[in-house]
Symmetry: C2
Subunit: 242 residues, 2 copies
């Protein structure tokens, strides 16, 4: 366990956390919160065959801007599984109002995505002695995804503490932090602005153009634009048509 001992030694004396980052608005705000809570953060991003793969570049920009010493980008081939508008040849919905979005689980749902991502986070959490895991799930603005609900997160946390050697042997307790869970998009944006997040670095669009411009009409763009509007702030993202 040589590597482990090396990695767990912490020059800064700060507690370490694993933060799942996608380059989007929510996970970037989550990272800012984890940093402001005093954690030394290791970021994990996933290349999962998503059509909006420009988000990996955004995650890298964000990690660099926030001085993250370790950022792992993990290939996860969910494109082979399919079953989602984000990974298969299924159209992303456009022009929907937030009420319609909240009415059901959208086609942008990716089977078992958060479970797979959090499972990788467990492996890293154990090896790096970083039992605090941050994920930017939200159950308010976009309640459709089952794996963004508090009961799911609680069940995952319980399972995690039965799965890992260091948890079972009492050396760590996995805690899944979901600071955005009950915040509106506007609250998230206000929090991020207060913490100095540069939202110009982030990417939210599910259906970006080749040149990276956001579509402005997918569910993710609409929630983002409404959030900035409600927060009384300007969205620095670049859109195709406004």
């Amino acid at each position: 366990m040589t590597e482990r001992k090396n990695l767990s030694s912490n020059k800064t004396g700060r507690k370490k956390a694993v933060v799942l980052t996608s380059g989007g608005l929510d996970s970037t705000t989550t990272l800012a919160i984890a940093l402001s809570d005093g954690f030394e953060c290791i970021c994990l991003s996933f290349q999962y065959g998503q059509r909006h793969h420009v988000e990996i570049a955004a995650a890298q920009r964000v990690a660099a801007a926030m001085n993250i010493a370790r950022h792992e980008i993990i290939p996860v081939d969910l494109g082979r599984v399919g079953g989602s508008a984000l990974t298969a040849d299924i159209d992303v919905p456009a022009g929907r109002d937030p009420e319609t979005m909240a009415a059901g689980i959208p086609v942008t749902y990716v089977p078992a995505r958060n479970t797979i991502f959090l499972s990788y986070a467990l492996a890293w959490a154990e090896v790096l002695c970083a039992p605090d895991i941050f994920i930017g799930v939200n159950a308010v603005d976009y309640s459709g995804y089952p794996d963004c609900r508090p009961e799911y997160i609680a069940a995952f946390e319980q399972m995690a503490n039965l799965a890992l050697r260091d948890a079972v042997e009492g050396r760590i307790t996995i805690r899944i932090h979901t600071p955005l869970l009950h915040m509106s998009k506007a609250d998230i944006i206000r929090t991020g602005i207060r913490l100095g997040v540069d939202y110009g670095l982030t990417h939210s669009c599910y259906n970006p153009r080749q040149d990276g411009l956001a579509c402005g009409v997918c569910d993710s763009c609409i929630l983002r634009l409404n959030g900035f509007n409600e927060a009384g702030a300007a969205d620095p993202a670049r859109y195709v048509s406004r």
Copy 2:
């Protein structure tokens, strides 16, 4: 969801199951049990940077011999995470008796391995409408791994049914089948022989030679050899030194 409808249509009329196979003795017996229970089986194997990567070839031989129509081999980079004798530069123990093995969690423990594997299985289970998942975990002969215990499996199943759209909306119920959980290695081998398993196709050694010969002294070889001995059967595997 076109792909999904296609895949869920089932010419044979049999219920579909996802079976995690490693090419080893336990998962091969588990597959034989799932088939004899009447399931049409989709096999998932994981290339996770394990030092005994010859097991993937064994999993392919097994799937072919058992006429499995679909066998997915999924790359999962656990070598980058490290923390285990199976994926990092840590010696595999040799010459231990089963009592010593059972006394603690061995260095061959891989952080979050079953959680990551089962999480991928969830994605495939949902997309293929195959909510029955079989995994060859065993809590008797090798009780050291925390993610082989019944309480872990129960917690994972509970989490799974909160994670997936089709489970939350009542179309499927994920069930994690662990037919070997309380069987001794000898019982497992007797069951497999009764079901016609050709154990000559399987691979168990943690530390195989380049030519694929099993070492005969790692924990996995010792448990296998003891199991065959107790079952009164000859082990068809080829060993370096006996």
